[in-house]
Symmetry: C2
Subunit: 300 residues, 2 copies
């Protein structure tokens, strides 16, 4: 399974970066191959200063070795080795009318000291972080997510949509990071789904990504915007940084397993602002977004 999934994310990385370069029309991904001293490595692809994408990364990695002590404590296990591979992407568009997007699809295995698999599971998801709210875009994104889910289980969309809202909750701000999408984790072989069926589900979601995001980019990338709207985007990007550095388990996992820092932190936006006690004007588009983030709603 680990070889099968790793092959899948290699091909998916090619498909996604090719499409994104085509949409951007100017910038190209810079590729960095890296090795992890303790085992494994990755292939990072980062785009910067594009016509559409101000900064973004589409990275794959496959790492293995002894599970670090802090992660053993986290999982409540002792003396285990691990293998983890996945694709992580974050795109920060230049135009504040185009939402930031994040996606991740991953597979994890744990072994005892004889090398036998003691646990294995999939995880992942994809979610949208707009700076201005176009409801039809959010509905489109969620519809594609739902379609991918419904092909595998009628309960998945509703379950994984809720998990996404609760995972990407910026608790110290009492607001969501964005308008959600899907989040799932610890998808193990069980009564209704064996591991092969989980593979089919996770790759279904991975294959839906471009269809979920690209039409929104095309629709919004040429809208004119004002300096004040760009400032609002930079202020909101600050909340993105806060979530990723304070709450995000993926970032934490990368830092604790001695992953490549520049690949982990490619998720941080290029230009960011923090203003003291900033509040949007009453009745503004900016305030309308905030209200949605403070009480996540159903979109489909």
């Amino acid at each position: 399974m680990k070889d099968k999934f790793f092959s899948y994310i290699q091909v998916l990385q090619d498909q996604i970066t090719k499409k994104l370069e085509e949409i951007d029309g100017e910038a190209h991904f810079q590729e960095d191959i890296w090795e992890r001293p303790e085992g494994g490595g990755g292939r990072s692809r980062v785009i910067e200063n594009g016509a559409v994408f101000e900064k973004g990364g589409v990275n794959i990695s496959a790492v293995h070795g002894a599970l670090p002590q802090s992660m053993q404590n986290y999982f409540g296990v002792e003396d285990v080795d691990f293998f983890a591979c996945g694709l992580s992407l974050v795109l920060h568009p230049k135009n504040p009318m185009v939402p930031t997007v994040h996606a991740n699809w991953r597979y994890f295995e744990m072994y005892d000291q004889e090398g036998h698999i003691v646990d294995q599971w999939f995880g992942g998801g994809q979610d949208l972080t707009p700076y201005y709210l176009f409801e039809e875009d959010v509905i489109h994104f969620h519809r594609i997510c739902k379609r991918a889910c419904d092909l595998h289980d009628p309960t998945f969309y509703s379950e994984f949509k809720k998990k996404c809202d609760s995972y990407f909750w910026n608790a110290h701000r009492d607001e969501a990071r964005g308008v959600g999408g899907l989040f799932f984790d610890y998808c193990r072989a069980a009564d209704q789904m064996d591991l092969g069926q989980w593979f089919d589900f996770v790759t279904e979601v991975g294959n839906s990504f471009l269809e979920a995001y690209i039409p929104i980019v095309i629709k919004r990338k040429n809208i004119e915007y004002k300096p004040a709207q760009r400032e609002w985007q930079e202020i909101r990007r600050g909340r993105y940084v806060e979530f990723n550095l304070v709450h995000d388990k993926g970032t934490l996992f990368g830092l604790k397993t001695n992953g490549r820092i520049e690949s982990i932190l490619m998720s941080l936006p290029p230009h960011v602002q923090w203003r003291y006690d900033h509040h949007p004007k009453k009745g503004s588009e900016e305030e309308r977004l905030l209200k949605i983030l403070q009480s996540p709603k159903d979109w489909v």
Copy 2:
């Protein structure tokens, strides 16, 4: 002791904000009084868009109540109440030739369920984060720190300087946040120092702050700088954000005790950049700073 120290930091906040406004010459501190639902509150003073200070805060707070569960685990105690008060300041100057400064002086008490004090200590320090290295400025800052220490114990400077270097270590970047200063914590009554003597020491350091920092600001605030130097400052500010959100115990304490978010996060810089895999040119001033941050040195 808690009343005595709280009175002290109220007066110190007035002295420091008065002096900073005088140096800035344009902007004034905005004051916000806030209450903590569980007990206590604070007086935040924030300056923005000044001629010298692009963003900064000089905040005092005094909070009390049941110690939150996560903090009880951290301290290894059960069923205790607490009182904590302190002054925290961070100043982000506009000119990249002027260093960012941080200082904090605080006092903590813990009580059993009968209200008896079971533990009490002081903590604090002050440290400098330059974007360009003027060695004479760093030496000046450390000399003032050392003088304040030497008046109380000849071993303090060397001990608290080392603690500062190790506390403000941005572990995931393998570099210091800045060029250090002083850091001390859990300063309890013991053989050589009773609590009153610790009060005298901590207030000595607090009283030394303006003399340690202001001459540097005056010397550097009118130096002309280029857009590329400003960009370097914004990139380095990103490392400041990373430290504060990933490693800083003070920020964590504030978030976990339901402190006022805008007062806690006033420490975040106004304009920040993240570039992928950024490295300064060989032999540049920027690289010279990095080398110092990678292996902290003795300044006095």
